[in-house]
Amino acid sequence: MTAPEAAAAATAVLLSARGIGKAFVGVQALQDVSLELRAGEVLALIGENGAGKSTLMKILAGVHQPDAGNLHLDGQPIALPTPAAALAAGIALIHQELNLCDNLTVAGALFLGRELRRGPFLRQRAMDQAAVTALARVGLRVEPRRLVGSLAPGQKQLLEIARALHGQARVLIMDEPTSSLTPGETERLFAVVRELRAQGVGIVYITHRMAEVQALADRVVVLRDGRLVAEIDGREATPERMVAMMVGRQLRGDRRVGHAPGEPVLEVAGLRTMAWPAHGVDLRLRAGEVVGIAGLLGSGRSELLRALFGADQALAGDIVCAGTRLAAHGPAAAAAAGLVLVPEDRKLQGLVLGMNVRENLSLPTLRSRGAWLDHGYEQDLAARAIRELGIATPHQDQVAAALSGGNQQKIVLGKWLAAAPKVLLLDEPTRGVDVGARAEIYARLHELAGQGLAILFVSSELEEVLLLADRVVVMHEGRLTGELRREQMSEQAILALATGMEVA
């Protein structure tokens, strides 16, 4: 290939979608969406939850069929009736929730569905050898015989990419690939994405995180309410501009003004958890105070919250919440003492997805109304929560599973606010929550703190910590390695403590 040819190939349109429309019962998910993906570029696709990102991505990957419009690959019209057809055409979708079988070996997962074989027998050794090369392409250095289940989330993500590339994918669609990665793993992934771009792979990158768009994207397309509202050059994509385009209005992202904290409401001494049995945690929280816990994944932050709430049993330690001593307690006892948790995994721990909005909202507090169901109480509670938190739902009877992440999170928050807590624990309060709902949740938390609620939250997003917290405690390997007051808080200072570096 000559230089001009290579240059032409690099800018050639790989995949194009024209006038795509898609409706689900009564809802127009996508309307007249057109976009082009060139070889060797990263196209960031952003938008709020429910804007149509995942529908569009599923149409590109053959999961859904468009009602209107058509797809072209290399300038030729193409139909993608099934995900297998898309894969065969070189379009691979990498799901947010990774689709790997934990019981397979790395090589087995890599070759799943296209195993090397001699007759009915597997050519195990040949696959192991080929796997090493395929893994090297994404910079993943693990034994081919290792079990997938033993890999870290970041390694699994790279394995998925290796799998897609191994299937000769030329178009990669990545759906929030960093949502479960550590900062280090994220950097690795970025390097791989840049490397693939240089090799001429076209990448559609879906994300909520503005920093990632700025770091990677050549072009940015913005979806809102099923329509493509903007397409801008990656270099011009500032967070403010992107957010404004996504929500169609300006957001208040003010850092809150701290209040004078009140009486101590939560006192923790020597709390030890299964995650880091050797280290105890001491903590004190005052009424109206918002404290963030920063730290890397695996530093024991979530375990700390779960032990406080009684979802896991602590190994040792003293917990006193608003005058009530909690020992060997369960969530019910914690809630009775005024200590509640909005858990990390909304779908598994936060909500009963198959139940409706009203039933979810009343679940923790129903019991306080006696043994019989109190329908009047339930309806009032649901109506109030929907109004005060701005939960976007057609009615109280809507199944929770049908709502967007942001609205689901508001339900989890609402069900615990109904219990009139003194201390609110939140684990990753806005994971998978779109920017609009995020701002609303922040505003509500500020308001609650102003009314004297003590808030203790864990977040992997430093922006969130800086925005919300009056005070940050940083955890490193099960220990609180430092504390920063508002005026001392900065990303650098937090990272230094989180990674165990001493700061002067």
Partner: protein, 324 residues
Amino acid sequence: MKKVFGIAGLLFAVVVFTAVMSGQPDGSNTFLSAYNLENLAQRIGMFGILSVAAAFVIVTGGIDLSIGSVVCVAGCLLPWLLRDLGWSPFLALPAVLLLSAAIGLWHGLLVVGLRLQPFVVTLCGLLLYRGLMREFTKDQIMGFGDTAEGLRFLATGRVPVTDAFGIPVTAIALLVVAALTALLWNKTVAGRHLFATGRNEEAARFSGVATGRLTVLAYVACSLLAGFAGVLFVLYVNSAQASSAGSFYELYAIAGAVLGGVALRGGEGTVIGVLLGAALMQVLANAINLLGDSNRLEFAVVGAVILAGAAADEGVRRLFSRRR
């Protein structure tokens, strides 16, 4: 609710079909005769209680395979207490029910405390209790002699409606059990918590629901009702033999519940659906007896109907989800 309409329609269709097919040349009808209907209602009463029992556990996402063996235990011990030990019925009946409930408590504690699989726990129960009963009774037929005359009213009694037809007491017993269960499931906080636990145990636990206690309670309710039905069965037949009493009844119970819309994954089901499902099982068995020359095909037809029902249900669901 859609499922309930489906099963009601199916029941109606089978009833109409059987009624039409069982007309006799002389104008009488073997299916619609007062004698047959009364018998049918009696059986629906007893098997219906078993299906409600099974539903309690299935709603939590578990399963109870030992129902038939608990029927056997209750069926063998009641005659023994009355005839061999000479206990008063007022003592023997509560004792049998208490023992049944204790079996459920044991299951629940194994499932919740030791985190054993419900399938394993209750499969072992199925083998264990029947085996113990066979040894205990030396495989002898356990009869009442003349010690249960008054008590038999529970299983064979009837409330006359016309000269020929009366409502069997077992059917009334089922209606009482069903009404109480419906009250518990739909009107109480415990019922809401039970269904939340079945749908998502983790989320229920994180909401302060006492999921473990509720699960144990479901196993207790299941075995207690199975023991109660066992009492009715032995009073109905007037004797029990450990090698056969209640054999396969767990499958009738589970099939009735599942046919009635109780999802095996837990957290879904209605009492009315369970009643319809249990009724359909018995109507089918009755129809085969009346329309064929034997009941040899009974299992096959029941199996085929449940399979067809599940396939139709899945088909409708897919059609629905594809439209969205």
